[in-house]
């Protein structure tokens, strides 16, 4: 990893801005839900902000990503428009999916956010197909498959990595290892100490990095993306992280070991990056506060517009089932 490319000061600031948007947006969603103003199942990614932020700075709008129910962080890092996102979370007709999809199926092709699935493991076969399309297009476009540590134990993982490796597809498999699958600890569900080691079963490069460290995460992603763009095939990246709000908002969290949790908090990547930017004089406290305030305003606007918008008409049940409307 020592030979990884390192992010410039400029890139670090960009990563921090994305992470701030993700974190503040997450906090706002929770606030709205607590106030009963948003009703939906919510899988917070608080703690995983650095991963997609450090990956996305090396991606273009037309690079593809597929993600999961716990994927709003991946989307925002990729440039998903806040307004349409909030409208969708509120189930409004102005949402990206006209309110039909909701939090688990947020989609935005113009930003390469092609598929969000609520089925564990299913982001991988589809991202593999997008990789095939990207390869056929011949435009050096890549496809990123996001999934969790628990998902690495489902059959679709195996089939996807084997096929992507055989066909040398430009796919980056990003396993966001937050140590838990719902209430199951990593070791209770997974028979190997590091998921990245499974890459060897497909003659694929596999690496484990600290997903909360922007240098490591940026470097590993950059190398994998370059490799994919160069037509050299897929890579499996295991990004170690933690999700501080548990699996589903509202759960007890009893299944999480106190010490593990405390240690994870000490490793939280977000405050560390904030402190580092200041220490390395990449940004002043004032700059950062300005960033935070600007983002809060963006969120205010998105939220207000979403709340003010109308719900879709019931006739929408007949549309988008097929291209032609149902009689």
């Amino acid at each position: 990893m020592s030979n990884y490319p390192r992010p410039t000061a400029q890139t670090l600031l960009e990563i921090y801005k994305k992470a701030t948007l993700i974190k503040q947006n997450d906090e706002r969603i929770i606030k709205q839900m607590m106030a009963g103003k948003l009703v939906m199942p919510y899988y917070s990614a608080r703690g995983q902000e650095i991963i997609p932020s450090a990956i996305s700075v090396s991606l273009e709008d037309d690079d593809y990503i597929c993600t999961i129910y716990r994927g709003i962080h991946d989307m925002l890092a990729k440039g998903f428009p806040l307004g349409e996102m909030w409208a969708e979370l509120a189930g409004k007709k102005t949402g990206t999916c006209k309110g039909k999809g909701g939090p688990m199926h947020l989609t935005c092709p113009s930003k390469g956010m092609m598929v969000t699935t609520g089925i564990v493991g299913s982001s991988m076969p589809i991202a593999t197909g997008l990789g095939w399309a990207a390869k056929l297009d011949g435009k050096k476009r890549v496809s990123v498959a996001n999934f969790g540590d628990g998902a690495s134990n489902i059959g679709a993982f195996h089939e996807s990595l084997n096929m992507a490796s055989l066909w040398k597809l430009p796919v980056i498999f990003v396993c966001q290892n937050n140590r838990y699958a719902e209430h199951t600890t990593y070791a209770e569900g997974t028979s190997i100490d590091q998921i990245s080691k499974r890459a060897a079963a497909y003659s694929m490069p596999g690496v484990t990095v600290n997903g909360n460290d922007p240098d490591e995460m940026y470097g590993a992603a950059k190398v994998a993306i370059e490799r994919a763009r160069a037509g050299e095939g897929p890579t499996l990246i295991e990004a170690m992280t933690f999700r501080f709000n548990g699996h589903l908002l509202g759960e007890s969290g009893h299944y999480m070991d106190k010490d593990v949790y405390a240690k994870a908090q000490a490793d939280d990547g977000f405050p560390k990056l904030r402190a580092r930017l200041i220490a390395e004089k990449i940004a002043s406290e004032a700059d950062i506060v300005a960033i935070e305030q600007a983002i809060d305003k963006e969120i205010d606007a998105a939220l207000e517009a979403a709340m003010a918008a109308d719900f879709p008409d019931v006739s929408e049940l007949k549309r988008d089932v097929f291209a032609e409307e149902i009689a």
């Binding site: 189930g91 609520g118 299944y255």
Partner: protein, 326 residues
Amino acid sequence: MSEQLTIVQAVNLALHDAMEADPKVLILGEEVADKQEGGVMGVTKGLSTKYGTDRVKATPISEQAIIGAAIGASVGGYRPVAEIMLMNFIAVPMDMITNHAAKLRFMSGGQTNVPIVIRTMTGVGFSTGGQHSDYLEAWFAHTPGIKVVAPSNPDDAYGLMRSAIEDDDPVLFIENLPLYWTPGPVTKEKVPLGKAKVSLEGKDISIIAHSRMVTESLAAAKTLAGEGISVEVVDLRTISPWDRAAVLKSVGKTGNALVVHEAVKQFGIGAEIASVVNEELWGKLKAPAQRLGAAFSPVPFSKPLETAFAPTAATIADAVRGIVKK
């Protein structure tokens, strides 16, 4: 001497009693042990603590292996109760269920059998959207070799679970999410598979339903009673094999039939029941058997759409008026 329990408690009690009664009964699935809080809804709470983690196994997220392990253990002489957390996820181990669990007895000429129960939950109402709310009972009712049950109340939930576990063939046990916390009396009597129940007697029309639609139908019946329409509600309880005799008896009496399910109407189980009613009671019906089901679309997220998607007491009442008024 029947206590008041919710369906969550009733199923949990049935599992406890079954594990107590028969050491061959096993539990497996994601989060089912107490270390993982006894299931996401707590349905399997206490079992691993009481019977140990050899008999109650929390699994990886591996639905094919979960059902495969249940099949293998059952062929090896055990009675596993496997949980597939939500019904949409049942598409993942579909091969294990339809090509194996349902067929091994027949393909082996009766040398082996697969006494497993597959528990799963589903239902609209909690804004969980397109991949977490589907009713897919029709797929399995069309599959010879597996039985399908779906209780509408705590007493049946307990009784059907006990019978499902004791049954020598695979049983798909469908639990409804919104009904989970509705309390009701539990007699702890086993409920035979394949037997429907008349939940409400009436003269003008028979509503045939299962799971949460029974509750909606009973609510509709109440409204309609006020309008002088007397509704009989038949709770199927077992969808396959379904109780033809009970349904035909009821419709033979009322002369009108409305089959209601939360699943999509087209090609849903209502079509089979309506067809049999029309075939068997031809000439004795006041109107052709009618069906009410969900819209022909994936389950939508947005609240107004989700509400409009599946039948409700109101739409059921309207359908009944439409039939009886004719």
